[in-house]
Symmetry: C2
Subunit: 300 residues, 2 copies
Amino acid sequence: MMQPSLQAPSGMVGHAADRLCAAISRVASPTCVGLDPVLEKLPASLKPRDGADASVARAIESFSLQVLDAISGRVGIVKFQSACFERYGFEGVAALERLIRAAAERDLATILDAKRGDIGISASHYAATGSRMGADWMTINGWLGEDGISPFLKEGSGAFVLVRTSNASSQQMQCLQLEDGRTVAEGMADLVTELASDHCGACGYSTLGAVVGATHPAELAGFRERMPGVFMLLPGYGAQGGTAESLSPAFDANGLGAIVTASRSVIYAFKDRDGDWSAHVQSAASEFAEAIGTVSGLRS
Amino acid sequence: MMQPSLQAPSGMVGHAADRLCAAISRVASPTCVGLDPVLEKLPASLKPRDGADASVARAIESFSLQVLDAISGRVGIVKFQSACFERYGFEGVAALERLIRAAAERDLATILDAKRGDIGISASHYAATGSRMGADWMTINGWLGEDGISPFLKEGSGAFVLVRTSNASSQQMQCLQLEDGRTVAEGMADLVTELASDHCGACGYSTLGAVVGATHPAELAGFRERMPGVFMLLPGYGAQGGTAESLSPAFDANGLGAIVTASRSVIYAFKDRDGDWSAHVQSAASEFAEAIGTVSGLRS
């Protein structure tokens, strides 16, 4: 039986890493805005009248849509935090699907931050879920090894494996020392690099990437060298700390190979400020793109 | 603003591990059936006429509902593979929500096999998603450390952390040797045990559990000893190999502390057999419960 929904949307052509590079070039900045919308932080004008799932999902969708308009043309990539939508059940998932389409219509490359990690048919299902939603990339968890990563290795879409995450307790597992001198995170980085190597696009980067927290600037040069051909997604810029200058070792000589993500510092830039909320989001996106564009060398 | 959907359904009272023990006692067997429904494997009579998401989701829901009827009273616990439902978008998620309610109505304890792994508000969202669906337990990924585990540590519902998974490539990360002599999986087991200790119910077990593959019988005694008070969920019995006898070291002296999961060998027991398909599922569930009930010591 044909499963038409397994096919990627028609707009999703070419290699996922090449599309990512094109999205970066369009705005001359390797920047991504994280959309992690939370009910409590919405602008007052958008808050729903009741707490029913459908009402909240609608409010979050409306907010997200206006954020997409505000950041489009300023940054090239948007990352959707799946949990913030799943939280509201099927109404939230339906909103997420519409928003990913809306982002693509605004020429934004899309990352579904779902941190999925499963094997076999389940992993294939998750990969298919991302593709049917039209997400260019997805974040995944490599704890299960190759079985949990390979199903995401497709030409049309890409996956970022969690290698060294930005949160405080990430060291509990990721910084344990192996007997061969590597950390556990470096072990994960090596596995990712090995699996990534056969899947590079014209830009030299693979459809398999890695998440490395912007909160660990001292480790960036090491991971950049350790993972040639692997695009790094750097969360934790802005609200979670991390300065623009400290991130320069993450980029290659062409200003590519890494994407910096900011979430709260952009999408909630209106907090405690007067006037049109979306104008504050626009300004924050522009400032973010300028800072990272300069550090990467794509803007002078 | 009140968020009524954050509250657990009224049926979900008491400590999650105590409810699990009660579900095991009701059938005198620590067994769980994994519901991983896949379109291609449905009984011919249930296959949809077209491949549209709504049609497939309906067919999978109908199949799953009949499986719940077939296993109810024979095993005490059912595990839903979230990927198999998410695959069909919001239609699939809505079906999953209805099925979890249907399982509870049939006195089955429920595990949402979602393998979620995120931090902070996102982890809280995933925990809330499981609770609002009414799932007693959820599977989670501990790669992010305590930040990714603590949000799931609630009295009302529980979480199984992936410690040593059943798949072939699990050794790539989980069996790396640490400099202190432990494996990486043992490092995860120790983190889980530490976090679990303050959350034990009357039965002596915590709301934090661990996934340890039934495919690694030689390691079961070690993990049982290493993780006192931690319920182990053992997938990989049946279709993925592993015999009943080899699993006995996983149980405590009272036949508790571990749950064995079988998926394909039960829910597709009708394959290549004539007659009423659900009768074959009933028989397979009974045989599975008898074999594990005996090994655990709950049946003589």
